[in-house]
Symmetry: C2
Subunit: 510 residues, 2 copies
Amino acid sequence: MGESRRRSGGRAGRAAARAATRPTEPAYLTRLIRPYEIVSEEGLEIIEHNADTILEEVGIEFREYPRALDLLRAAGADVDGERVRFPRGLCRQIVTADAPATYTQHARNPDRSVQIGGDATVFAPNYGSPFAYDLDKGRRYATIEDFENLVKLAYLSPNLHHSGGTVCEPVDVPVNKRHLDMVYAHLRYSDKPFMGSVTAGERAADSVEMARIGFGGDLGDRTVMSSLINASSPLVWDATMLAAADTYAAANQACIISPFILSGAMAPTTAAGVAAQTLAEALAGMTFCQVVRPGAPVIFGSFASSMSMQTGAPTFGTPEPALVLYTVAALARRLGVPFRSGGSMTSSKVPDAQAAYESASTILPTVMAGTNFVLHAAGWMEGGLAVGYEKFMMDADQLGMMIKFAQGLDTSPNGQAIDAMRIHTPGEHFLGTAHTLENFESAFYRSSIADNESFEKWEEEGSLTAADRANRAWKEALASYETPPIDDAIDEELREFVARRKSEMPDEIG
Amino acid sequence: MGESRRRSGGRAGRAAARAATRPTEPAYLTRLIRPYEIVSEEGLEIIEHNADTILEEVGIEFREYPRALDLLRAAGADVDGERVRFPRGLCRQIVTADAPATYTQHARNPDRSVQIGGDATVFAPNYGSPFAYDLDKGRRYATIEDFENLVKLAYLSPNLHHSGGTVCEPVDVPVNKRHLDMVYAHLRYSDKPFMGSVTAGERAADSVEMARIGFGGDLGDRTVMSSLINASSPLVWDATMLAAADTYAAANQACIISPFILSGAMAPTTAAGVAAQTLAEALAGMTFCQVVRPGAPVIFGSFASSMSMQTGAPTFGTPEPALVLYTVAALARRLGVPFRSGGSMTSSKVPDAQAAYESASTILPTVMAGTNFVLHAAGWMEGGLAVGYEKFMMDADQLGMMIKFAQGLDTSPNGQAIDAMRIHTPGEHFLGTAHTLENFESAFYRSSIADNESFEKWEEEGSLTAADRANRAWKEALASYETPPIDDAIDEELREFVARRKSEMPDEIG
């Protein structure tokens, strides 16, 4: 690998640097519990049939990207202007034949490489918010400083497996140059896997080039980015997203093909209707990736919210998106591709009870459905318009609980504890028994945010809310942050690349 | 029935009164989704085997209640002092043979009678808290006024199916007379089903007598109370609870036989160990009810919390109690009896994000596990020490979401929406389509607490938190409260009974 040519300090130095940052937690969650199936086989078959009906009769528009039309026509689709209709079963056949069921997304630190698909779940932070929120400064436009802080917080959290992508929009950087600073931040301030830019084909290309540099000069066949390709639902893929997907797929980088649906607006109101449309749009998008490069890794994505009937605003943590999530997760399993959905979503403007109820009511179904890649797993607020520092810390704590829960029931002899029971006397407590003492340290999830003290002690300590404690927690985390090691020559080359690309373009204001 | 002799206004008047209070919502939730099974058949068999090992080798103490020892000896148990050991399989055989798989708990208003067991889930409010909390007055000892307010709020909520029992401890009423005011409040301020007193055998008898009066003079074989019988875990049933269970079972009233376990203190730390012990204790308790009166309705209860390793305090909404809940729910299904567990539990002292995360992380598993009777479904705070008015309203809103979710995926032609999709053009929104307009009113759960407005609108309206809105909501609800109709003669007889019983006893201070 190119890496070894660049590193200073030799083999021993590298080993020492590696050991210093070797994570103590697994790089991703391996679920030992089965996914929850909410729909019968028969119900899922109906939805699959309906998706094929949509693909065959209505079709999908591939807008202003003629190359997609040529490739799909050659693959057997019926192309009429920009409308592409797919013979029944064609997309499924192509995706099933070519798309990998699981793949490895390599991280700059190999100990942090993640499996995408199968029994693996990967938690990634919030994505795409133009605003940032914390208790001290309130809500304001997000900056590159916020971006870097969030990358650092995700790096520090044992419960986030991934550095994410546009963890917030750094609006103080010109819109056409942001991607350079963002990708640099992921490579420099974290060593976890990350996502590339999708806001233009050339920005995707820049992301691939920076990844190449960051990974030591030669990616080979390694997939090192999983990037977010959103549909313009209903039933449209636009040129920007197609160009980004084209670039990534050609470079064997992963695309998260995500229909983006506000039920009732971008799809019918009903969950089974949303699921069929989601499957149709995702199949079309994944098929495009496969005709660009057979075998290119893809993730079947689903973003579905319900709607406030008072205001038309998207709503989260409600029953209907959970029904969609369970259903589409099952469809993805049947298709044999990794699945992305869910997160810690809320409409709340503050890190209050609404934020927590809605987030929990999204992340629990996310995990129970067996979701493989979870964007927005920490920090999301205000329907995605804002990312919150306190919310980030609270969500990350909840992710730790999900990780523990997904280990399922331990029925080993120690887990059964029957030998401890056999020698026990009714009415005596278990606090001092050998079995309790042996298991106590690892027995229960230890929350970093919850207060379980008595009311009196809690009051004495200032009557803090969870948000107050989370405020303290992110400040302590950032104060403790140390940059993961990076080869000086690589860092230099990345900085030069960013500077050169910035100098080649005038600023664009977003 | 005795009822008709007492009522005034004749048949027409009764019908009018009935119509005025006829509920628009179903009296209980009928789940259309399957329960989540977290443990394999083999794992469950191991736990059942271990429970029988506990019953056979260690046994259960039935303390200071000789009648229980006599009854259980006669049923085939091995009685040694107060220690009762059960031959392998005996308890299961007795419970399986005699305890009903489902029963009806009749309400004073027959439209509100609930099914307990099977696909039914019944949500009941908080139980047992000595403190009350609201944003205006903070935390203070609960009073009979709080008790009545909570009964009224549960009566008004379409998402609470049950009036509960000791919704809070009215500490301003002498401890030996509280039960009279509590049962009166349930009968007078609600017409939903309720729970009787369990703090002494004679208080259970008073509860039965008041129920008899309240239901028109003759209960016949009707079960009109499901009352909470807690074990003194580990492996002890005490005289107070046995006397209450004895009284209720003899009167064909239901007992919720609930091992009460703080893992690591009243049981081993491990979930499979807690599950085996819970099954053993519950089997012993349910067996006692069956030997008192074969066929007496019982609910297999489970209360399990994890422990803070810093303080030893109970913790809620953590992964370990959820694992226990899913496991014990499956054990109850295999046994063929109704199951009680879960709720909206938290250690938080305020209605903040911790309260909401923990409550959601308890109530979601509760519903997903197929729990039949859910105590503490609304209002619980501070590990059960306090009941919160705002928390009550927020939890009740979440219960509405659970009720909607448990309807599962609608795969009817309307749910599939494929005809609407077939005529749709890519890129056009669905807001004005016929299918959307036809479904819009019922498409999405409408939260009574969540704010889904824009940040600007939300700020303009005072930057309220969920707790602030819930504060407004409970005040509006209480202001709207109207007492459900009750026959004047019945009310008079209840009041006379309460006055007489109070006059017969000196006050006891709790």
